[in-house]
Subunit: 343 residues, 2 copies
């Protein structure tokens, strides 16, 4: 068999503000490989099926020397992120051909030879779910919602939760976990379509923050016992203002500032008199504690329809740059995934 192209999405330059498709990242088809003869050196060859595009990508588009919890993308190298692929050939006795591989550092390229499993794992799919869901509600975003909620929400029936970016991969599961705990849920997102989805999964009060004043909603529907923060900025200041005594804040992200700079927070001084409890979370530090419970419950609930999910699926590796920008701008319709290849 002759060598074939191994298309890749390369990190090309550090963006100043929003990433620019074709400039920040470039689609490259110059690399080739022969699937039958590429040396494995004890490793295994994987065909990439689906890739996840997430808000945290923006933080990885920083200079490599910047201190962070996660390493930066490397100029000239492929992007990487959560992904799933199928094993085509293997010289590793623990990884048979035909098995499916899931992990946090899948290169954004069609084929990859992995030297060993490392942080990867062999994954089995619930027959009622597509692979894409294992990058969303049954994957890292769903896992983030699950571990943050379990670890820090301290939810009590009848309390009020406010969830931002409630139609996203994380937020949608948070809404449903909050409803399962018997809470009243206020949820915000940036389009009417997202508002309708949030209502469909149980949000008691769902609103479009671009057309509805957040403070007016919180004043009427609050105070807030639990705030799930995916956005930061002025929405966060509003949440502090309308937080209940002993409120819990789960700090999951601050996408309002990722591309244009973080605004300063004016209401910190209310944390003391309101006895607020603010927790920053990262999924990879908490997930081991809850992984077994997560996989034992969430995929089955998603497959049965007890928990709902939605996805914004884009076909074609060449679209990754556009999807990254959509996620940063919030113009994606739901959790963004890219299908690189069918099986």
């Amino acid at each position: 068999m002759a060598p074939i192209p191994n298309a890749r999405v390369l990190f090309n330059s550090i963006p100043e503000s929003y990433p620019v498709p074709g400039e920040t990242t470039v689609y490259d088809t110059t690399q080739t490989l022969d699937l039958e003869t590429v040396p494995l050196n004890g490793g295994f060859l994987v065909k990439t099926l689906v890739l996840s595009v997430d808000p945290y990508f923006r933080g990885r588009m920083a200079p490599a020397e910047k201190k962070s919890y996660i390493r930066s993308f490397q100029i000239g190298a492929p992007l990487d992120g959560f992904g799933i692929g199928v094993v085509l050939r293997s010289e590793n006795s623990a990884v048979d051909s035909g098995k499916y591989i899931y992990g946090p550092s899948f290169f954004h390229q069609e084929y990859t030879v992995f030297p060993d499993l490392g942080a990867l794992q062999i994954i089995e799919k619930h027959p009622g779910l597509p692979w894409t869901v294992y990058l969303g509600a049954a994957g890292m975003p769903g896992g983030t919602a699950f571990v943050g909620w379990k670890e820090h929400a301290d939810a009590k029936q009848g309390e009020v939760a406010f969830v931002t970016a409630g139609a996203g991969g994380v937020g949608a599961l948070v809404i449903q976990l909050a409803k399962e705990s018997g809470l009243k849920v206020i949820a915000s997102a940036g389009s009417e379509e997202k508002v309708e989805f949030m209502k469909s999964i149980g949000a008691d009060v769902a609103f479009n923050y671009k057309t509805t004043d957040t403070r007016a909603v919180l004043e009427k529907e609050g105070p807030i016992d639990i705030f799930w923060d995916n956005v930061g900025g002025d929405t966060l200041d509003a949440a502090i203002e309308f937080a209940a005594f002993n409120g819990r804040f789960i700090e999951c992200g601050s996408i309002s500032g990722y591309n244009t700079g973080h605004s300063a927070i004016k209401n910190w001084n209310l944390i003391n008199p309101k006895c607020l409890h603010i927790h920053g979370i990262l999924v990879f530090t908490l997930f081991p504690k809850y992984a077994e419970e997560f996989y034992a419950t969430i995929p089955a609930k998603l497959a049965s329809g007890e928990f709902k999910y939605t996805e914004d699926v884009t076909k074609g590796l060449e679209k990754v740059g556009d999807v990254i920008l959509a996620v940063q701008k919030g113009t994606n319709k739901a959790k963004a995934v890219v299908v690189v290849a069918e099986e």
Copy 2:
């Protein structure tokens, strides 16, 4: 016995910035009472001995309609705060003459008829301590340090704590609790005298924030596992910047902004990736949980010298206004108390 003056300190006007003695508060000697004949109506007459002046007073100089965890001082009425007095006469069988009364709402006046105990309690003094200490290290400020530390510090030997206002009533006990837990302690305050005191009670690194750059100290001596925040503002931003992963912040006060407005906090977005845990505390909600342990241990340690304390004692009720201003400016030398009368 003829009526005698009952001198009082009245709240006179809401300050715009720092309180102004004689204007914000006025010393008034127009009221009189007859100690032998004043009607008790089932209550008891108390002679005020010592009064506490604390940073939180500034928050009470707000318009009465402002929502807060604590009610505002009332224009034309005496100030009130933590105090101790001796019972002169009583018609309450639970409160004998000669007993000592401690509570959070002692009027700033020489004599008071209390209708019942309410939030007051009968208090006994360790023979090795003066009453003033029961308004400081063995009182509300010490109790604040104790409950905040016990509830939220999660201290592990070898960790690093940073304590601001470390020579104050709260901070000084926090330093000593941190040293007792086996931590390295960085402590800041606003004068050389306070720096020397912080060193004398065990701070490993003590500095004057007015003459030494906080960030330079934290960069060299951090990162910080535990931050005890009494001041807020730019020092808080510096603490976030130099916080360790999984750091705990105990938000006890933000005096940097009480008189001149709170500055916005720039580094909130680091809470998420650093997985920081921020806890606002109020002593009155946590104290019941720890009161028995506090009174069983802290006064004895203070009396034996195992824990050290310092006080800035002012004699004379007429000085209250000056002491309030000194506490807000930080020109007091240590925990401020006013001695109204000897026994």
